[in-house]
């Protein structure tokens, strides 16, 4: 039973959550906002995980809400000054504001690593929720590139950048624009080893 503000933590992906992530990744709600909307086979997923384990340029976290896995947060190009991030909520019965927690986590995590100058992101043009959130957090829109076709409709890929030294100044300002409980939750997020 839970009441009040949930605790949020991020744990590196391990075998215990591999099947859950595969199910999330292949769910229509998640697939529709991915670069590739093709179903991922279990063996392909396992091969991806094996490759991930030996790849220092990528980090893949499970998003835990009161210790329950509800989504993912992932980073690529961690061996450069400009990593890129992505995320999704795999579960639908989540605390209101869970997506905002992912935005905070990505920026807090990268801003705490001083080798990074900017955080990059890509969002498909029809994903209004994600594009809206990046606008609220004041990401700088970069180029709009052709993405392809989805359900017979052309779509673009919006590229974003966030200058991480700006995040320290912006964080408090953005928190003030958000419901107070978001600030309380954002103060207690942690990355686990």
């Amino acid at each position: 039973m839970k009441a009040g503000i949930p605790e949020h933590a991020f744990k590196p992906l391990q075998e215990e959550h591999l099947q859950l992530v595969w199910q999330w990744r292949n769910s229509p709600r998640i697939m529709q906002n991915m670069h590739s909307s093709a179903l991922v086979k279990w063996l392909e997923h396992c091969a991806w995980f094996e490759k991930l384990k030996g790849d220092n340029s990528r980090q893949f976290y499970i998003f835990l809400q009161d210790q329950r896995p509800i989504g993912v947060l992932n980073f690529s190009d961690m061996n450069t000054a400009t990593p890129e991030w992505g995320c999704y909520l795999g579960e639908t019965n989540v605390w209101p504001g869970s997506g905002i927690m992912l935005e905070f986590a990505a920026l807090d995590f990268c801003a705490s690593h001083h080798q990074f100058s900017h955080l990059l992101a890509q969002v498909l043009s029809f994903n209004h929720a994600a594009n809206n959130m990046h606008k609220v957090f004041e990401y700088k829109p970069l180029s709009l590139k052709k993405g392809g076709k989805r359900d017979g409709q052309n779509f673009d890929i919006q590229h974003y950048s966030y200058e991480l030294k700006q995040w320290a100044e912006n964080r408090g300002k953005i928190l003030k624009k958000l419901p107070k409980k978001i600030a309380l939750a954002a103060a207690h997020m942690q990355f686990l080893e």
Binding site: M1, G99, L178
Partner: protein, 85 residues
Amino acid sequence: MLNLEQQIKDAMQQVAELSDCQLVESINPDTQLLECGLDSLGYAMLVAQLEEDLGYDPFTELALDTYPSTFAEFLAMYQQCANNR
């Protein structure tokens, strides 16, 4: 006086306009909250708006086994909280 369901739907519309979101055409009991047109910020704003309108926040006050996924579950949670008061 508006019933609770209508109050929630009105608040959803109000928040959608404030947060530049477009609600789906029809909110029915099976509508997934994450697919109703509100983004994560909109959903958080909805709960804050309802706390202002109704004077309570079930997410804070109730000991929940799980969070609501659909509009019907969301409404039931608010009804339960109202009944407890």
